[in-house]
Subunit: 199 residues, 2 copies
């Protein structure tokens, strides 16, 4: 014996999270002992609620506690632009910036044949249906710059080619403030390919 049982369970729970190893799990579990009862209650309710209440928006597949998410319901948004993203997290990141005012479609994954992820495993069918039924004038693909992201973007561009809606892709290149010395060759190549005319 060295850990009381409840602490042991707590350490095991923390270890289930990505990026948390034995040492960090121990440190976090010990900090629980210093939290006040209200925080603990809130935390354990939050855990249950997040799991039980959060579902996917029936239109765009973003996370929500209702049937339709707040973005899809928001009538002030531009319903003619659709931004295609990999996961709910992307929506949240873009919403934080706040400059994009159109709608979203969450794929929940990228095409990756090597991992057994085919087009039918991500939300492409609902995307096509949505584009056919709604009245989009522009589609922006905002996927991770990677082989999977490129494959998925290519696939979407192909199946939507008949719709004649302009499709664009967010710019991949050197991030602001980066030191050229530390930029990988693939990013540099993308930066050259994606160069824009300035005069």
């Amino acid at each position: 014996m060295s850990y009381p049982n409840s602490l042991k369970i707590l350490i095991e729970s923390f270890k289930k999270f990505p990026g948390i190893g034995e040492k960090t799990a121990e440190r976090l579990a010990f900090s629980v002992l210093d939290l006040d009862v209200k925080t603990i209650d809130q935390f354990s309710t939050g855990l249950q609620d997040a799991k039980n209440k959060i579902k996917r928006c029936k239109i765009c597949n973003h996370i929500t506690e209702e049937d339709i998410c707040g973005i899809c319901l928001d009538n002030s948004r531009n319903r003619e632009i659709l931004c295609i993203v990999e996961e709910p997290k992307s929506v949240i990141i873009f919403e934080k910036i706040g400059s994009y005012k159109g709608l979203y479609h969450v794929l929940d994954g990228l095409i990756s044949p090597i991992d057994g992820k085919n087009p039918e495993d991500i939300n492409i069918e609902s995307l096509v249906k949505r584009i056919n039924e709604e009245n989009f004038k522009e589609i922006i693909i905002a996927l991770r710059p990677s082989v999977e992201g490129e494959t998925t973007a290519l696939y979407i561009t192909k199946i939507l080619s008949g719709t004649n809606i302009p499709i664009s892709k967010i710019a991949y290149g050197i991030p602001m403030g980066a030191d050229m010395e530390y930029i990988d060759s693939m990013t540099l190549e993308m930066a050259f390919q994606g160069r824009t005319k300035i005069s």
Copy 2:
């Protein structure tokens, strides 16, 4: 709106932990959505139990779910050696190594006048009482090598000087495998002071 409410609560909860900022809290909260119901139940029960069931051992002040901890109750341990440590975590670390077979006394802090921590704020009174009542033949001080650790060790040595029980301090020095180049000067000084004869 961008986060569902339950996710927002979860992020706030994670942010209460030391060393967890906004980004990590978000990442952890999102991972909750991928955990199975059983893990979530276990986690939230663990949180409540750790807070409600864990108390301090009436003898040594180590964390336990009973009145007396398993170490104090274990009759196979050497009841003539007492190891004085700062916090329950130290007990767990030493127990993992497994070579120390005596008893412990958890001070729950170190003397630090600058932070308003005086001898009466840590468990020194119960330590003195215990030493007077029990039959210890050796006392080992195993505190963090720091000004506070040294002050506390000095104070304990002083108030126990009348008991004539041999008091020792664990060795401070260069850790195994360390590169001398990266060792701070205080550690080096301690290593010189604590040199042991080899022939």
